[in-house]
């Protein structure tokens, strides 16, 4: 009983520190992991071998995250995504609405293959450069792009870290993930583009038809072709993994190694630009949640929730989307996902609900909820930072007034889609 209270206090403290942002999130998670280990060992909840197990049980997910990060970093440097972007916007005429639609489609495409931060950096840099060339104001478009990164973030298994964690924990293959998530992502994209285009009815047309040579974004064509080939091969192996069962982590690491050898970039500089903070954050949270699961804290919570769901089982899917979505608006979606997984597993067993559909609910909520607040996702923080440099501040109030309608529509459609998944 005592350890349950101690672990609950530690977890609450971690969440408070994450929400307030007083310390770097990785440092908070590492501190939390250390406290869980110290008290867990002291009270005999688990042994040192178990702590190693908390991490190694998730080795494939961790390898997949590291491999994907290296792949994306090298791909970004090859100019592939910049090339695709410039190709799409060249010679599209002067219609601002058509231009916005293409930029938003491009955003979804980029965030499907890259993490949201890199996708936002590329699309934001492109938008600001075009703004300078056309001498127009694209501030509003930058915000929409940030919102769209979170739509693209649920498209593929590799699109975001919560997707990778959920797929790893529930043994969902790359193809299965794509089959379920791509249709929803496309529906959300089309509906959201329609919403944006309605808002841009009165916007002035572009000042010129953009004629840009996409190859000018590519420094070395050889590197470009090599990187593109490795990327395509990795994607093919991800799809084939459902038959080959090599392990997605191993495929990602193999692709990353090939990229490090053949990209022509100094490996040291690629390693330097990898987001190691996220890796430490992820590993620390696996320890925190592993320890809490072992101590039975999560089971106590899951029992209470199960009691409610036994009365209204169908609500569990929608409730999961809402909880994940609301929490992701304020807290990082990685700890939310890792913490909810054991709870979801328990509830599924107790109430007799489809575990896979609950997993989809988590993916939808964790990815789309970030659009609720201006601090909800890294891409929005970057976008608002870009606008701040232009002297435009976006308050919470302004965000709710102008942009919160997007996540509301997204979560509503995701809820309907989940019901459809249950029915068919």
């Amino acid at each position: 009983m005592m350890i349950t209270i101690i672990f609950s206090i530690i977890f609450a403290l971690i969440l408070i520190l994450l929400v307030t942002g007083s310390y770097h999130r990785s440092v908070v998670a590492m501190l939390g992991a250390l406290l869980i280990i110290a008290f867990g060992l002291e009270y005999g909840v688990f042994g040192t071998q178990d702590v190693v197990g908390f991490v190694f049980d998730n080795a494939d997910t961790i390898a997949l995250v590291i491999g994907s990060m290296i792949l994306c970093e090298a791909l970004g440097r090859s100019g592939l995504f910049q090339f695709v972007g410039l190709s799409l916007i060249s010679n599209i005429g002067k219609s601002i609405r058509w231009f916005a639609a293409i930029m938003l489609l491009l955003t979804v495409f980029l965030s499907a293959f890259l993490n949201n931060i890199t996708a936002m950096l590329i699309i934001g840099a492109l938008t600001l450069s075009l703004e300078k060339r056309l001498e127009m104001d694209f501030s509003e478009l930058i915000i929409y792009e940030a919102i769209f990164t979170n739509i693209g973030g649920l498209m593929l298994m590799i699109s975001s870290i919560p997707n990778l964690i959920v797929a790893g924990e529930f043994n969902i293959g790359f193809s299965r993930f794509a089959v379920v998530c791509i249709p929803l992502s496309l529906i959300l994209t089309v509906v959201s583009i329609y919403m944006v285009m309605r808002r841009m009815k009165t916007a002035a047309p572009l000042k010129e038809n953009l004629e840009i040579d996409p190859w000018s974004a590519v420094k070395d064509k050889k590197v470009f072709y090599r990187a593109s080939l490795i990327f395509i091969l990795v994607m093919i192996f991800f799809v084939l993994n459902d038959i080959l069962h090599i392990g997605l982590g191993l495929i990602a690491i193999a692709g990353a190694t090939a990229m490090l050898i053949l990209s022509g970039e100094e490996p040291e500089s690629i390693f330097r630009d990898i987001d190691w903070g996220t890796i430490f954050f992820l590993v620390s949270f696996f320890i925190i949640v592993g320890g809490m699961e072992q101590s039975g804290v999560l089971e106590v919570f899951a029992q209470d929730v199960s009691a409610v769901f036994l009365l209204f089982p169908a609500l569990a899917y929608l409730f999961t989307i809402l909880v994940c979505g609301a929490a992701s608006a304020f807290i990082d979606n990685i700890p939310i996902t890792i913490t909810l997984i054991p709870i979801i597993k328990y509830i599924s067993g107790k109430v007799g609900l489809s575990i896979e559909t609950l997993a989809w609910s988590m993916v939808f909520g964790a990815n789309l909820g970030g659009n609720f607040t201006p601090i909800g996702s890294p891409s929005i923080i970057i976008a608002t930072g870009m606008l701040k440099r232009k002297g435009k501040n976006i308050s919470f109030y302004e965000w709710f007034r102008k942009y919160a309608v997007f996540p509301c529509v997204h979560l509503l459609l995701a809820g309907l889609y989940t019901i459809l998944l249950v029915v068919i």
Binding site: V19, Q82, G124, L126, L128, S129, S216, G385
Partner: protein, 69 residues
């Protein structure tokens, strides 16, 4: 919510590469000539008229070189 620290440098790197493709430009270093006022010289970096004159000079220079060929 997620962390996005260390982003500004990377953004500037990506932006300067993309900007070169969208607005082709070169960066040249002009050493201050002797006998000019330093303050006036440094202000030229932001002087639209000067930049326009440089652009016109570049056009003429490239045309002259092409004609020579």
């Amino acid at each position: 919510m997620s962390n996005s620290s260390g982003v500004p440098e990377k953004f500037e790197e990506i932006r300067s590469e993309i900007e070169k493709a969208v607005i082709p430009h070169i960066t040249v270093k002009i050493v201050m000539p002797e006998g000019v006022n330093k303050e006036e010289f440094l202000k030229l970096e932001e002087d639209e008229e000067f930049l326009q004159a440089l652009g016109d000079f570049t056009k003429k220079w490239l045309k002259k070189r092409q004609d020579r060929k």
